[in-house]
Symmetry: C2
Subunit: 199 residues, 2 copies
Amino acid sequence: MPRGSRIGTREEILATALDLFLAQGYEATSLREIAERLDITKAALYYHFPAKEQLVVELTRQFLNDLADLVATARAEPLSERRARLTELLSAYLDLLIEHQQVIDLLSRNPATQNHPDVGLRARNLIEALRTELAGPDAKAEDKLRVACAMGAISSVAMLPVMDGERVRALILGAALAAFDAEPVGDVVVRSPSRRVGD
Amino acid sequence: MPRGSRIGTREEILATALDLFLAQGYEATSLREIAERLDITKAALYYHFPAKEQLVVELTRQFLNDLADLVATARAEPLSERRARLTELLSAYLDLLIEHQQVIDLLSRNPATQNHPDVGLRARNLIEALRTELAGPDAKAEDKLRVACAMGAISSVAMLPVMDGERVRALILGAALAAFDAEPVGDVVVRSPSRRVGD
DNA sequence: GTCTATAGGCAGATAGAC
DNA sequence: GTCTATCTGCCTATAGAC
């Protein structure tokens, strides 16, 4: 059943694809499912996108460009003011994750997208570049690990239901900086459990 | 070409399946690929495992049981010594992630596995239970966020190439505790980039 | 425990009418 | 821009011989 001429078909396709990819995964979602939900046919999809993978390329393009911008910003920052630079860049990284939360979910949860040169590989390279920039050119292994922990704390936004407000943002940024600065903690002993839970 | 009777066929199948699932994803890996790499046939796989999804169930069983044990430990701990309890449980959680790094990769990267009641849903419930236990029964939203940040810092192990040594472990645990304790940091301004990187 | 052979289905993708 | 119709190929899973 045709829907007639609409302005936003392409955007509707992308939105629907994102929905289904997030819920079921990229590989587990067929073009038939996407088409059915939109009440069009598979062939109609192929008018707008030459192949299934192109859906992911388009869905992730904006995020990846923003991430590339952030790396460029990092490279342009003077190394002299190290602390201010770290704070600023982690803050921008946090904003990026919040803004593109769904796309990041898509990328991190779908191995099939991670080997695509314009998507997964590009993302990996950019993240690696950011980590390198944050640690500094003369960074020791420990500094790199500290940066990884800080970025990990920021990644906790991905685990959370919804992001709301400046207070939450400030807390996560504070946690990331504290993770970076932290003293090592060793020699912790764990007692044995009384009974297993869950089965 | 038959391989004759071997003791470890079942374990070889699981190891090969894990390899391929990690490299390509669960959905993107066919039973034919697994069989070919092992030099057996698809039908032989079905002798050992009744369905493809059973491979994931077996691969994740040990990790999920260990995680359930950790939740049980958390429930058995006295709430009186809050700080020691938090340190101890985060430490055990870190050990768990290190020990089962590959399985965690498998779970977190494959949406298709995440709706299975004995795998993804069980994992989600256990992680949620652990977060709740760590935050405490009377926890405010902010405490839960702090726990999420701490667990996020620990999750940084998943981003790292290899885990080696007590020093690295101590650093990550320290970062997690510091993330939990951190003061909020607000009002950071980001300058604009000079030029985009990467294309 | 492993094989051959095949059923039965759905995938991604294309051709060409309208 | 969307359709119908169809191709080709691979998928999971099963039956039954050895």
